[in-house]
């Protein structure tokens, strides 16, 4: 059996990192940063948290490349969705 078993220590570390990320998100949300920085910071923290969950809790770090490709294709699809939609909405004044 070649299934990789992730240790409990790693799970605990990731969990604590996620808790820290949550505290950081709430703190940052209450601060007034210039311009669009609030959104950028909030999304950056969220992406990092999600990445940790995907890589370690969902074992993608230790999984076959095919699973990486499947996940990447979903994110690529979302990229197309957002890029094409907003290339329309954000280049005109009316909704």
């Amino acid at each position: 059996m070649s299934e990789h078993i992730v240790s409990v220590k790693i799970y605990i570390t990731i969990f604590l990192a996620l808790m820290a990320g949550t505290a950081l998100t709430v703190w940052a949300g209450l601060q007034d940063f210039p311009g669009p920085l609030n959104v950028v910071i909030a999304l950056t923290i969220a992406v990092i948290k999600a990445t940790l969950v995907v890589l370690y809790f969902m074992h993608v770090r230790y999984s076959a490349r095919l699973i990486w490709v499947i996940l990447a294709s979903a994110l690529f699809w979302m990229g197309i969705l957002f890029a094409l939609t907003f290339s329309d909405y954000w280049t005109r004044d009316w909704l």
Binding site: M1, T22, A74
Partner: protein
Amino acid sequence: MAETVEHLGVGHEASHPALQHHFENMEQQREAGNIGMWVFLVTEIMFFGGMFLAYTLYRSKFPMAFASASNHLSLPMGAVNTVVLILSSFTMALAVYSAQIGKRRNQVVCLILTIVLGLTFLGIKAVEYHEKYVDHLIPGQLIPGHPFKPDKVHLLGDAAKENVEMFYWIYFAMTGMHAVHMIIGVGLLSVILFFAARGRYDPEYHSPVEISGLYWHFVDIVWIFLFPLLYLLGRHFEH
């Protein structure tokens, strides 16, 4: 050794009772199960992706209305729910780990904890939804005779009352669909718990636990994005 069943392409050793005929060995079966669940999660990403798109669009068009509406949500309840859900992902990962090392009792305990935390999340959500109902913030005419009235929402900057309702449509659509996924997840885990308690899973075969875990972690990830986008977007205007 007792007589073994011979399968073409597989060695002479007796195969695991859970091995299906169309797979060479348990490892391949396990991987195929995981790939199948991942493909399903891709469809879920597309599903929620559309709603995140709607959120992004309307937020960009009505930023102050969205900030005002967001500030009316309960930040403590949202934050507690986030902690509860991440904790449940942790216990779920431990449940899978317990299955991988063949510890039946630990599996059962971790699955029960995950389910209880999931139900806690749903309970807090129910309280939040009730508050919205009391404040007449349920959009449109979803509650007959109780139309949407944004009077309770403190308007910031140039926020228009009409656009506040759009936030609540998106809030209920997204957290509602998320809650539906949680309910399905709790049901799923209850079934897995039933079989785990009967010792159905061992280090060789525990796919149902593993793929239920993938589903549960995905629902957690959706919330990791929902929380800052719905609850935190306007807080920095509050002082």
